[in-house]
């Protein structure tokens, strides 16, 4: 297994508030990792630091053998780490097609290529096939602001995946989505990313989603990683049960064991 991302001793403080403390993570190629933790536990801070939106106070982030600490998001994106957002970041008043066309154009063009026309037939064909993979082709000409939440989430993730990144970090892909739709949405996303052999880290609150799609779990609590283990193991970890899953999530060990088999399914997918 090849290590693609290595995070060592990452710290982030805002004044007296410690948002991240002693974060150490090694991510291997093709892994599907779930990031769990209560609100304010430091999950999004972690994603923000790795993707360059926040500058860590100290520590070390290495991607594909290269130090990426302190680089802005655009450079990190160009190196191969992309992300989606909890609140979809799309071009709201434009059509779905135009959103993706722009994503392709920015990804593909560099130097003098920026001065070539925005529209060309080959690019349009790529946009359309991408729309199909994410199953949002029927919304091709709809304005982004009018989309149902699930479609907007898919568009956001599809835009992040345009560059075919080595690592894609998804910030709560299923937040704001009804329970019935969650699995359908995740199936679409994970299938598309599996084809691209993308390494995925995603933040998730729903443990059923975690069990089904993820082979390994990072559990955050108060800015620290309190558990980094294969999914089945992590979900029965006492610390995780106390600080992350909480009391609403009553499960017996047998149920957790079922979860284990699901977890392995996720492993197979990867």
């Amino acid at each position: 297994m090849t290590v693609v991302l290595e995070v060592r001793d990452l710290q982030k403080t805002f004044g007296a508030v410690v948002a991240a403390k002693d974060i150490n993570v090694t991510v291997n190629e093709h892994e599907i990792i779930g990031i769990i933790g209560a609100n304010g536990a430091g999950k999004t801070t972690f994603v923000n630091m790795v993707t360059g939106y926040l500058k860590p106070t100290s520590g070390h982030i290495e991607f594909a053998g290269r130090n990426i600490m302190g680089l802005p998001p655009r450079d990190i994106t160009n190196l191969g780490i992309s992300r989606s957002f909890q609140v979809p970041q799309v071009f709201t008043s434009e059509s779905v097609f135009d959103n993706l066309q722009m994503a392709y154009a920015i990804t593909e063009a560099s130097g003098m290529g920026l001065l070539s026309p925005l529209y060309n037939d080959e690019r349009a064909a790529r946009v359309d096939s991408h729309l199909k993979r994410y199953q949002i082709a029927e919304y091709r000409n709809a304005t982004a602001s009018t989309l149902p939440q699930g479609v907007r989430k898919l568009l956001d993730i599809a835009m992040a995946a345009v560059s075919n990144p080595t690592i894609l970090m998804l910030d709560e892909p299923t937040s704001g989505i009804s329970v019935e739709e969650k699995f359908g949405l995740m199936d679409i996303i994970m299938e598309a990313l599996r084809q691209d052999e993308t390494t995925v880290l995603f933040i998730e609150h729903d443990m059923e989603i975690v069990e089904r799609y993820v082979s390994r779990v990072l559990a955050f609590y108060q800015g620290e990683i309190i558990c980094d283990a294969p999914t089945a193991e992590a979900l029965v970890d006492s610390g995780v049960r106390e600080f992350v899953i909480g009391e609403e999530y009553h499960r017996t060990r047998t149920e957790a064991a079922n979860g284990q088999s699901n977890g392995q399914e996720g492993d197979d997918n990867a």
Partner: protein, 298 residues
């Protein structure tokens, strides 16, 4: 030393003047997020109205000091009238539009009011020196200053303190701060934002008119004073941080004293020293000196 004191006193007087014209602008921006170009018209109308009322007052044989009442009456009349007419008659139809569009609408209104001013008062200058001569002059380090200008400093302090206390200590002020903090939430909490907007705009308009009304006795009131003042007030507000009252005060002091220094030491840069300060401050602190930075949640 003598020069230094002169610069300081001149600077303070000028700063007070700047604060008086800028504070209304910043209050309106703070609450309504509108950069109001018609503020220059409020100022000009305030000045003309004040000159007219002072003239009318001193043509009677009522007690001399009563002339000061004319100044405040002028500010009230102009501020209340234009405040209500503009907010209810124009701005409320534009709240949902882009901020640039609203600025332009107030710019258009400013152009209209410039001509209305000319139609009412004509092109000849107005003078209303009576209140100033009444207070006489005083010598500071062998330099003569007129007392009236020095009272401007007191007025600015009173207005500044009054607004600050009104905002932080009264129920109305707290409502205002809630609206400033989050318009939608305050609406949900049952605060009548419509009324808050109208009242704020009227208060801002009175401030602008008061600036003009109070300064009127010291200048020749002529067409074009509105233009000068609006550009100055913008600079002060932007430097201090738009929407911040302490910011307007610091901005006014910074600009006022620098300009007084420039006038005495390097008259050739007097005109653009203000904008140079503005450019420098903004390039270091984009939001101005006192405005809080806003983070965006993703």
């Amino acid at each position: 030393m003598q020069e230094l004191i002169v610069i300081l006193v001149d600077g303070l007087v000028f700063s007070s003047y700047l604060f008086m014209v800028a504070v209304g602008l910043t209050v309106i921006f703070g609450v309504m997020k509108i950069l109001n170009v018609t503020h220059g018209s409020f100022y000009a109308f305030g000045a003309y109205m004040s000159a007219t009322l002072i003239g009318a007052y001193y043509s009677t044989d009522w007690p001399e000091f009563g002339g000061f009442l004319a100044i405040f009456a002028a500010a009230l009349v102009v501020g209340v009238f234009f405040g209500i007419v503009l907010e209810r008659g124009l701005l409320r139809f534009l709240y949902h539009r882009d901020e640039h569009i609203i600025v332009l609408a107030t710019f258009a209104m400013f152009l209209v009011l410039e001509d209305v001013l000319l139609i009412i008062w004509g092109t000849d200058p107005y003078f209303a020196f009576e209140p100033m001569t009444l207070l006489g002059s005083v010598d500071i380090v062998e330099m003569t200053f007129d007392v009236y200008s020095l009272t401007l400093i007191c007025l600015a302090v009173v207005v500044g303190l009054g607004l600050w206390l009104g905002l932080t200590k009264t129920k109305w002020g707290k409502l205002l701060l809630a609206v400033i903090f989050d318009r939608e939430v305050s609406q949900a909490m049952g605060i009548n934002v419509t009324v808050v907007f109208t009242v704020t705009f009227v208060i801002g308009a009175i401030m602008g008119a008061l600036g003009g009304a109070y300064i009127a006795p010291t200048i020749s009131v002529n067409p074009g004073i509105g233009v000068e003042v609006i550009v100055l007030a913008f600079a002060v507000v932007v430097i201090g941080g738009m929407g911040s009252i302490p910011g307007a005060m610091i901005g006014a002091l910074l600009v006022g004293i620098s300009r007084a220094a420039a006038v005495h030491k390097f008259p050739e840069i007097e005109l653009f020293v203000i904008y140079a300060i503005m450019a420098v401050v903004l390039s270091i602190r984009p939001e101005g000196l006192f405005a809080p930075a806003q983070a965006r949640k993703i």
